[in-house]
Amino acid sequence: MKKITRFQSFGAVALTLIGALLMSFAPGKSYKIGDNVADFKLKNTENGKYVSMASYPNAKGYIIVFTCNHCPFAKKYEQRIMSLDKKYAALGYPVIAISPNDPAVAPEDSYDELGKRAKEKGYTFPYTFDETQQVAQAFGATKTPHVFLINKEGGKLVLKYAGAIDDNTEDAAKVTKNYLADAITEVMAGKAVTVSETKSVGCTIKWKQS
């Protein structure tokens, strides 16, 4: 009987420790502008191959886009994300798209569905699946779409911009501020980014319910 109690209290301690570990992924602990970012390794849903930032040795930086299939806001930005890759991959800043949603909550965002969408639309960039959601947590992504601009500086991956792509989700023709593009222009010119963080509405990331 005593043994069981001891085992139970050990269990409680273990749970607390796991809880503390999970807490360390809380939004407060995610990357800030200017932070060095860790590379990741995620499966490209189109071909099953793993993708990292290191997969692009000649890139000057990366446009990391947390997006998904199901969200109407992500859909509104799909064409713009495709255009971003077309324009900026050639300039050294390719797009890597990441869907972080739990398919149990959003079935349209399953690995297979993501791959299907990428093929149908002819994405020129990898559409990866963050199955453990650890990359989204590390970046502090909270919604889709949510973009992060990374610049390679002296071998380090530095976060330069986080937030929205531009200032009009509903209508690309009415955009007046190209937040991400402006940040890339400044980074490429070796300047400090004037607006390095923006807030926007989007679909909340569908976190796993543990």
Partner: protein, 162 residues
Amino acid sequence: MNKLLAVLLHVCVCAAYGQTAEVAKFDELQKVLSSTNDTTYVVNFWATWCVPCVKEFPAFQDLAYKHRNEKVKLLMISLDFASEKDKTLIPFLAKHPIEAKVLLLDEPDYNFWIDKVDKAWGGEIPVTLMINGARGIHSFFDHDFTPQSLEETFTKTINKQQ
């Protein structure tokens, strides 16, 4: 015929609840945010495309009904796209009438106004504000509610600084 019936039903329901949804700019919301009178405003930011928002909608229907004779005003701020209002928001409200003022906030540059609602808000929905200018109440909730938790939170919030 079905369509006609649906239209008629819509008209009746809207008339019964005075349900309209105006397209508004941030100024309209700012008036409520900076009001100084002793009215408690419950402001919910939502959209018809947002699954948890739609799920918690009945909680706000309940709250509005329960407090309809008090100095409490419910403001449902829809972040649906203005161009899709007749396809999204209007049919939703026809099916889910609510004793509230429903505004479709047409301010596409989110970055310009999100911080003015609350600095703690990143732009995810649903979120809810409970404010009473006269009593200095400004409480921000970045999670969804059940009917029970909304009523409890409301009571706790408005009694906090009475």
